[in-house]
Symmetry: C2
Subunit: 178 residues, 2 copies
Amino acid sequence: MDTKIFCLGILSFGDATGYEIKKQLEGPFRHFYDASFGSIYPALGKLTDAALVERTELAQDKRPDKKVYSITPAGKMALMDELAKPISGDKVKSDFLATIVFSELLSPAAIDQMIADRLAAYDSAITELDCEQTMTGPGAHFVCGFGKALYTAARDYLENHRHEIVGHSLLTKSEKVL
Amino acid sequence: MDTKIFCLGILSFGDATGYEIKKQLEGPFRHFYDASFGSIYPALGKLTDAALVERTELAQDKRPDKKVYSITPAGKMALMDELAKPISGDKVKSDFLATIVFSELLSPAAIDQMIADRLAAYDSAITELDCEQTMTGPGAHFVCGFGKALYTAARDYLENHRHEIVGHSLLTKSEKVL
DNA sequence: GATATCATGTAAGGGGTTACATGATTGT
DNA sequence: ACAATCATGTAACCCCTTACATGATATC
């Protein structure tokens, strides 16, 4: 699922500008999907060319024109077709876990710091996902709960198993590795 | 962390060929990091150019020459520098969660199928991560346990909350959406 | 006879990010 | 004064994936 489809999905909930779509991606959604202006605006352009969305320009006082996008019937069909396809597995890229695999090369202090940072990050993610907010639809509610459950599990695991990675630094055995 | 650093990390455990590095990525690691030959071989080329790894060519009978890479002291330093940097947050791209957000556009049958597929995927991931295998070092052991904990939490959440997303399909209310 | 394993690599193309360019308004 | 919010867009670049190209050996 690329930015085009994601925009189509957001627009299926109601009309929005590119700027507003980006804002939606800054809420809880950003934990499992992200996109920058550099991909959103071109995506909306292509969707317009393909007549999957329609653009209405609203002139504004002392601001650039607002371009409000609406999904077209053809766009809704394209979205439904896409959603019906078999779903590809999640793509995760975790520099944190990679760093842990190679953590023998880190000082115990650096490892402790990394773990502390992570625990704090999990806590703030959990707080952020506590969303009885203006979340669009039951799907969004489920997704927030899902995210919270995962971050909580991650937090717990890290707290209960941190001892496995601290105390294995090769740097404790000899100051100089090289 | 890109493929170059990841290769450097793998090579810090011992010499390996590009082919062997790829194989490591097919085990439990692939749940949080992935790379194809199309990125591994060029990465090894650049690392060699930068003298961060050394290449030894081994002629083989009736097989292409094997190219065994070893990390150099400079490579080890580059790796350590990289690992010491503040770690960027995980990047997750979940088509599954995105689909759930937009699941009102799916038929109840399609939603059920999606959930069943997911539960099966979680189960096989959990089995796969059950690794007292030849995992390199304590870090890898931690990471496997971490992955297992997350997939288990995901599985449990999905099973306990699936009712929240089934039964909201707009398609149950009217056959034709358009 | 087909598929998997071993083993390397390249080229085209895809999809994205970052940084830049512009500019008024509102809040600290 | 300075930063943030609103609002759009482009261009350069990055990194990766997919598919291709090659080819022997072993297994089903």
